[in-house]
Amino acid sequence: MLEVRDLRVRYGKHVALEGVSLKVGAGQMVAILGANGAGKSSLLNAIAGRIPTQGGDIAFEGQSLADVPTHALVERGIAIVPEGRGIFPALTVADNLSLGAIPERARASADGMRADVFELFPRLAERRAQIAGTMSGGEQQMVAIGRALMSAPKLLLLDEPSLGLAPIVAKEVFAALKRIRDTGLTVLVVEQNARATLALADFAYLVEAGRVTGSGPAAELRSDPAVVRAFLGGAMASET
């Protein structure tokens, strides 16, 4: 469904990605794991057309996404929940969700989708009239994910959905991701919480300093000694 080949991203002289390739098959949940500064957000933002690339190619359903702006990607079925969430903090939860259904492709399914989102996150249903910016971090993350789902995406990109959340709230977010995965939606998720993510994903890529340094089915990576040492040891393990 999504194929990234030899992607290069630079910020001025600073090289963030130097030749990253990956594949996401339809219906899969694929994880990108890596430490802070590895280039995970740059990868996701490049796929979503939010930053310019300096080489390589991104293809979605066989078509190149070069020069397709972010707003047009949403119409094609790619939704992103960026780092920092990108919600509309001054608007209500209900308005944020309605905005998710602005793309042409989402309008017919908006009511059904809203019901699904409220079932997934009952808190949003209770708080639909609340100004989104006044909610807790975890609730805002729910708004962001719910809004992305409202656009009836074929591919959902998530950038560290558990970042900065208290462990119990992060757990709730991962439970929601599991349910989203079980609906058959294709998901590409960036995370630092390797243990929780590998428990959900079908396949994972390990990213270090702008390169893919390993990849494999999530079940195999969970028991790979090198991965355990790098991502699942010590502090990481105690987080989940």
Binding site: R50, P69, T70, H71, A72, V74, E75, A79, I80, P82, G86, I87, F88, P89, A90, L91, D95, S98, L99, G100, I102, P103, R147, A148, S151
Partner: protein, 287 residues
């Protein structure tokens, strides 16, 4: 007293309409349009010329002038503003660039108006018979001008608050950075907002032409008053602009009838200064 109230409301309606257009252009397109009053004057002069030359009543002209205003705004944004937007990395840069560019546009339009219509004050007498309103005789043209403002402002406020289109406009005004994430083309919406603001300037111009005396060099006064109202109402606050506009019309009329007509501008700016010092976020802005 009742006369002052009614005349003040009529004047305030025109101000409110003008302020709404300016606040749309600033809030959605991020352009501080110093040539706004000149755009109003173009519409006013066109209405007067059509009336004097061909006997076309202002109300009929309204139907053509407002869409023409929208089209002019569309072209201005595409030709003049879009390059500024494209090269500005920051919002502050765009504000400064747009102020300079529209300052130039102000003199360009003023020059064209002077050449085309001369420097004299102009007015028309159209439907100026008196109508009895709560025992006070008010010229029919003023009532119609007020009606135009009420309908246009009401429709705008309703659409912004209740329609999908309005939600998109508010989203872009409040958090433009997030808008592309939900498939909104910010550039397209900014162009629409600027064009709609110009259409409101044109509607305001029609209302000005119906009951006021104006000249080709007076556009800046409209811009200043609209700006004062926008800041008083809270930048980007549509309902605030409406209330502040009506209030300013009432205050000016009150000052000119009970104190001295020469003091209206002074009163306007005194209030403006007080608001700026005491509540810089506007009377109705969020603190």
């Amino acid at each position: 007293m009742l006369t002052t109230l009614i005349l003040g409301l009529v004047l305030g309606g025109t101000y409110a309409l003008l302020a709404l257009g300016l606040t749309l252009q600033y809030g959605i397109a991020r352009i501080m349009n110093l040539a706004y009053g000149e755009l109003t004057l173009i519409a006013a002069f066109v209405v007067v010329a059509a009336f004097q030359a061909a006997g076309i009543p202002p109300l009929a002209a309204l139907i053509a002038v407002v869409p023409a205003g929208y089209a002019l705004g569309w072209v201005l944004y595409t030709v003049m503003m879009r390059p500024l937007v494209a090269r500005s990395e920051s919002r502050g840069r765009l504000e400064i660039d747009s102020i300079l560019a529209t300052f130039g546009l102000l003199f360009l339009i003023q020059g064209v108006l002077l050449v085309s219509f001369g420097a004299n004050f102009t007015s028309i007498s159209y439907l100026d018979r008196g109508v009895n309103v709560f025992g006070v005789s008010v010229a029919l043209n003023r009532l119609i001008a007020f009606g135009i403002c009420v309908v246009a402002a009401g429709a705008l406020i309703w659409a912004l608050a209740r329609t999908r289109w309005g939600l998109v406009m508010r989203a872009v005004a409040l958090t433009p950075g997030s808008a592309p994430l939900v498939g909104i083309d910010v550039n397209r919406v900014a162009r629409q907002g600027f064009a709609l603001g110009t259409a409101l300037a044109a509607a305001g111009g029609v209302s000005v032409a119906m009951y006021q005396t104006f000249s080709a060099t007076g556009g800046v006064v409209f811009t200043m008053k609209a700006l004062v109202i926008v800041i008083m109402g809270g930048v980007g606050n549509v309902a605030g602009a409406l209330i502040a506009g009506l209030a300013l019309g009432l205050i000016e009329t009150f000052v000119s009838t009970t104190i001295d007509p020469g003091l209206t501008m002074a009163a306007t700016f005194l209030i403006f200064l007080i608001v700026l010092l005491w509540r810089p976020q506007g009377l109705f802005g969020r603190g």
